[in-house]
């Protein structure tokens, strides 16, 4: 009958339902005979397009909702002004001072250790790790981070990776202050890139480049090698591949889930009470983002370390990734959307359009036969 395709879509409830977004509006339960009006009536397709123009779930993931202004009456406004003075005039300089001091102490200790203590590699790396953790704590203090950690702290064991949802680069700093993780990062330009190259190399970092197509395989090999090394720091991966606004999660890339080792999920939820920690990389540079954090009262967030997960027999990596995404989303109170985070940078694959065309073409041909 005409509804063949729609019924097979409805049973696919456990898989990431991209197909929900290739809606069944294009298939209608109508009399079998094909008329001119059926072909001329493109209203379902047009409605989908207009619906996407008016509102779409992908853009929603990256929207920073502006906070409700609360300082609009004569009583609260002077209070707010006083707050601004305190934040910009007292807190900000103090924090910049703390940060500068922290950097000085860090480099004073790190550089000699890094270059001079050769031969006692184990000790050197231990000290460097502690220094990086200290530096991250200084960072967190510089924006008055109020962070609650829940769950058992990560332990150093081989054959495990940590995955977390991604909101801003400060996710990494928040997690790093508790445990020195090795991390996979997109190579950035500027002073961030400099820090990446010099300091993060010491905790063990893997670089990737979104724009290189062969990159995924190279990175996958590097990850595998890392997880097998006994002495390496535990690896932290952000499977979303991009920063999302902490209300939604986008689809997890399966790279971290096909390594055959334990996956430890970490859920991070920011409380927007004082500041929105979402880093909209298209709108702000990291420096501006940091400045915004440093001129607000505090950054409040919760971190949950969840139970390590293993791939189940018969489960494919994508399903495993979705299961872990589910755990993290539920724990942090985030909504799931079936989009790939990389759609921020690239167009969707033509296969999705072709799928729609296929559905329509098959229904037309079927109805032609029904005559």
């Amino acid at each position: 009958m005409g509804g063949l395709d729609s019924s097979s879509m409805e049973t696919d409830l456990d898989r990431p339902n991209i197909e929900e977004y290739l809606t069944t509006e294009t298939i209608r339960e109508v009399p079998k005979k094909l008329h001119l009006s059926d072909l001329l009536d493109i209203s379902p397709t047009l409605t989908e397009a207009a619906g996407a123009i008016v509102d779409d779930s992908f853009t929603r993931c990256f929207k920073s909702n502006s906070p409700e202004p609360w300082n609009w009456n004569i009583y609260l406004f002077p209070l707010w002004c006083l707050g601004v003075v305190v934040r910009y005039g007292i807190l900000f300089p103090a924090r910049v001072g703390v940060l500068a001091l922290g950097w000085i102490v860090f480099f004073a200790a790190f550089l000699p250790v890094h270059f001079l203590i050769r031969g006692h590699d184990k000790w050197r790396r231990k000290i460097e790790r502690k220094l990086v953790e200290m530096m991250c704590s200084v960072f967190v203090a510089s924006w008055t981070g109020v962070i609650k950690y829940h769950g058992p702290r990560p332990s150093r064991r081989p054959q495990q990776v940590f995955v977390a949802n991604h909101t801003s680069m400060i996710d990494f700093i928040i997690l790093e202050q508790m445990t020195a993780f090795a991390v996979i990062m997109q190579k950035h330009p500027g002073w961030v890139g400099f820090i990446q190259k010099t300091i993060l190399e010491s905790v063990g970092c893997i670089w990737f480049n979104r724009t290189e197509s062969k990159d995924r395989e190279v990175v996958a090999t590097k990850i595998r090698e890392h997880t097998q090394g006994v002495d390496n720091n535990p690896l932290l991966i952000f499977p979303e591949g991009t920063c999302v606004n902490n209300h939604y999660t986008v689809m997890f890339k399966k790279g971290a889930f096909e390594l055959g080792c334990a996956v430890c999920p970490v859920a991070i939820k920011y409380n927007k009470i004082f500041v929105d920690a979402f880093w909209n990389s298209k709108k702000q540079s990291f420096t501006t983002h940091l400045a915004q954090l440093m001129t607000s009262w505090a950054v409040v967030c919760d971190v949950w370390y969840l139970e390590p997960q293993y791939i189940r027999p018969g489960e494919i990596p994508i399903e495993f990734a979705e299961r872990v995404r589910d755990m993290i989303s539920v724990r942090a109170g985030l909504k799931k959307v079936p989009w790939d985070g990389y759609l921020k940078y690239f167009r969707p694959s033509p296969k999705l359009t072709e799928r729609k065309q296929q559905i329509f073409a098959e229904s037309v041909l079927k109805r032609l036969e029904e005559k």
């Binding site: 094909l34 009536d41 209203s43 409605t47 996407a52 509102d55 779409d56 999705l352 032609l368």
Partner: protein
Amino acid sequence: MGNASAMLTQYDIEEVQDHCNYLFSQQEIVALYSRFCQLDRTAKGFISSDEFLSIPEFSLNPLSQRLLKMVDGLNFKDFVAFLSAFSPQATTQQKIEFIFKVYDADGKGRVTFKDLLEVLRDLTGSFMSEEQREKVLGQVLEEAGYSRESTLYFEDFMKILSKAGLKMEVEVPVD
């Protein structure tokens, strides 16, 4: 950041409302403005093709290229007028007018067999051969009393589609 209506005066809202034949409420126009500003990332006053195509749901629509030609470079007033055909208040005639415009790509007021073929090609891609498409179109045209050589005008579209029970509505999310 203030909210969008701070940038749109009451006068602007009324002007836009008039331009779209009062098919959207003032709240919907404010919401659409906020969406327009979100899509027009570089604040040019119009949304470029690239910015439309960065909406994945739009990009994967088979008719996206046709619609892009209609909506590319429109300012906010015309953008709202473009979307007004999808308002629940729009009449069937207004909806059919929109559909006719999608078919009539060169804007000459007539739709030929070639135009019908092109749209069908967009909708079916490589899953129907050109012969199959011509055959199907030819068949349904004949059955409706036309032929391959016929030219369809707006009145013809009205005749064919009025009874089809068109459902072409989009909800504007109002905060």
